[in-house]
Symmetry: C2
């Protein structure tokens, strides 16, 4: 870890973000432009995200599988909107085993096409439906402006792909997975996302309806943190995914897809971090508790370490690290683990041994306010309470911040001001032209139309025509 101070969030949020990612050793730049290396600490965080989501997917009846990374170029061309959306972003394998390939292969940017092809082979009858498959993997999109975790050429994600017998079932699945993402984000990541439907111009290429969860970052910008698509029959028709219904009639399936990626790591960093570095929600933190033994000489060490060992055993159900590096001062270690966002620090020195105490310091409340002197007895239940409180407090703080920065501008003048300071929640006529003008004039885009809409109707914030839905507008990552 570098000793230099982080840039403050207020002064340069973007540079603060880059520095936190590098100094907390979450990720590093790869030698290929726009690619990243996810370092062990960052990957451990992603593994916890994976575990939380995977459990939720399985609880809703999904199974995992693995589809190939290389897709024949012709597959992408079978769905018109899909190929238009992804063509500019493709990485293409043209040589294999020393020979120029007859048909170039695409490194998957997403897997609707190859999975559609396989589903057309596997699905025969209504008895085979629904098919509920998820895949954890890597994809490549040739992005021009890249940022670690937020937008990289290669990224890691899960993509669910399901096939159903009716539009209603597909829509139900699409919304179920949106809810899974929402619960994961709020309950485990303490990121108070807002779920809703995307506008037509922000739809996934080839989808009939796209829903997303949208999160407000610490600089008030929006981050699309997960998406769920009702693909209608578009891919079923392009890939001939059909089933015999109970009346022995061939019908096209209705399909969905939904994904959440390593981008979410960026959402966690930019939602919770502070000027000292990362702050991780206890439920996902790779290290929930760091224990710093404090001693000045071997005699003190021989008094302190047995207690540290005992507490470590009593706290075995937590993800805990004892920092016993001998060449570093406690002060250095405090800063180091603050940078890495460990939610709770326990300090144990000779006085604590004498007094049967442990000093606990909360990462979310810097300084004395976050310190509590614990009794060594029943340490596990005290620590459970503290971690629960940190989890709740992170969510509360982020929710308050979000709500304080969502405005209801009365007119377009106020709107223009609002989107420089946060989000605007405004009536919109639904017309892509107004959406485009607003984007051009303010850089704010439609984020999503929440499910819970206010009663009644309004008038479009831009053109003044009648509007029947309110939408979040924001500058986005």
């Amino acid at each position: 870890m570098s000793e230099e101070k982080l840039p403050s969030r207020a002064e340069n949020f973007s540079e603060w973000y880059n520095q936190v990612v590098l100094r907390a050793e979450l990720a590093d730049y790869a030698p290929v432009r726009g690619c990243m290396v996810v370092r062990p600490y960052g990957w451990a965080l992603w593994e916890n995200i994976q575990a939380s989501l995977d459990q939720r997917f399985k609880a809703t009846g999904h199974v995992n599988a693995a589809f190939p990374m290389l897709i024949p170029k012709s597959f992408l061309e079978k769905e018109k909107e899909h190929v238009e959306g992804f063509s500019p972003e493709l990485a293409v394998v043209t040589i294999g085993g020393g020979e120029v390939l007859e048909e170039p292969l695409i490194v998957r940017p997403t897997s609707e096409t190859i999975i559609g092809h396989m589903y057309s082979k596997w699905i025969k009858s209504y008895r085979d439906l629904p098919v509920l498959i998820n895949q954890w993997g890597n994809v490549v999109r040739w992005e021009m402006r890249t940022r670690l975790f937020l937008r990289t050429l290669e990224f890691y994600w899960q993509e669910g792909h399901t096939a159903h017998a009716s539009y209603e079932e597909a829509e139900e699945e699409t919304l179920r997975m949106l809810e899974v993402y929402t619960r994961f984000a709020i309950d485990d990541a303490a990121v108070p996302v807002l779920p809703g439907r995307k506008s037509d111009s922000e739809r996934f290429a080839g989808a009939q309806r796209t829903y997303s969860i949208e999160a407000m970052m610490g600089d008030t910008r929006a981050l699309q943190a997960g998406t769920s698509h009702n693909l209608g029959q578009n891919f079923a028709k392009a890939f001939d995914i059909r089933y015999l219904d109970p009346n022995n009639q061939l019908q096209y399936c209705w399909t969905t897809s939904w994904g959440l990626s390593t981008r979410f790591v960026g959402a966690i960093i930019m939602t919770h971090g502070d000027d000292q570095g990362l702050i991780l929600p206890p439920r996902l933190a790779p290290i929930q508790i760091v224990v710093i033994p404090i001693f000045r000489n071997d005699e003190e060490k021989s008094v302190v370490m047995p207690i540290v060992e005992r507490l470590k055993n009593e706290l075995a159900s937590f993800r805990l690290r004892v920092d016993d590096r001998s060449e570093l001062t406690p002060g250095f270690k405090f800063n180091d683990w603050e940078m890495r966002g460990v939610p709770l620090r326990l300090e144990i020195g000779p006085k604590d041994v004498q007094n049967h105490t442990v000093m606990a310091a909360r990462r979310d409340i810097p300084g004395k306010g976050g310190k509590t002197l614990l009794n060594q007895d029943q340490i596990s239940s005290q620590v459970t309470t503290l971690l629960d409180n940190i989890q709740k407090s992170l969510l509360h703080r982020a929710t308050t911040f979000r709500d304080e920065h969502i405005y209801n501008p009365k007119n377009y003048e106020e709107f223009k001001q609002a989107v420089t300071q946060g989000w605007a929640f405004s009536w919109w006529c639904g017309n892509a032209e107004c959406e485009g003008q607003i984007k051009e004039e303010t850089k704010a885009t439609t984020r999503c139309m929440p499910m819970d809409q206010p009663e009644g109707k309004g008038t479009c914030i831009y053109c003044g025509e009648p509007a029947h839905e309110k939408v979040y507008f924001a500058r986005a990552y």
Copy 2:
């Protein structure tokens, strides 16, 4: 599942294998030549393999990370043997985002080069060592003759990459991971592998020493099921991985790498399967127990199902599936789950309800010999014992089969006969020429030289010159 009978193993082992993979729905052919789709049942098996290995890696101090899939072509050229070994097998990305790339990118066939590059950035001091990182991911090798799981263009694996301060530490790590693979194979997969060192001609491209675990398949052929490489300082010198030692002198690191892939799924199939299909070891089986309710009408159903539900709850700690598909007969279901290799089947019919019994059928012992009538009380402990016995019996059977098919031929004539019926364990002078001649004349290759060598010396089975090591020779996958 098709109703047609499987080809028998004796009659056509290779076709038996292909059919089992497809009919048990472990995997399917992808539209790109040589690629596979791992279907949910196959992926669940792989996930159990992953969990077992991952736990063992973490217990030996390793952490996971993720390195990019795209590698600059020039990186591969930095280690001479490495590039020679992998050049013919590369998939090359030449176009990105619609533009021809200045430098083509290789889809990783393995990650020594890109990880070496990152280690040279990260490792500064002896305090940074050892670095013990593993990665789970996909790689691509442009193979010409492919078989599902055994050899595919894209496959899934883990690759560990470590850096150390001395040759001895690197060698210790290499052997530690060989032992991890051996324990996993024997204890969890019931595959009685033989660990040992590879001959120079069978070394990994760029390694100083390669070790492997070798397994005997049901047709007596050998399958290399995992490898561990001591890379010496080859990659450290090619990628400038250096550290300051305690005397402030710059030293090159010593590195290792080790990998085990979805090929291991093939090893499990070909070790345990029989003419009815797959047989999975209970510790790795995605479904350990299948429960088949048996009834002829709604009245019987209403009697049977409550007991099924109760037993299901009592067996909640097992991976259990109740097959309540109404359109299929019990006989069809028996065959179906036998094909899929579920270790234990429980049948419950109206008589069992009356008699407070459950019929248990072991997958590893077909017919009446494998059936036991259980009491419904304390079902969990009875099932635990049965599954333990199945696990042990699979290992015992495979070990017996292996040992019965390893020969100690007295001369080359006997040797030639031996390698058509199994493996030959023979003295070898260590000369690549003899090895090459044997391969040409018998198709048998050196598999590995086991750690435990017999006392004394012998004479080379081919040339008669003095030999100080015995080696396994076999025809291999």
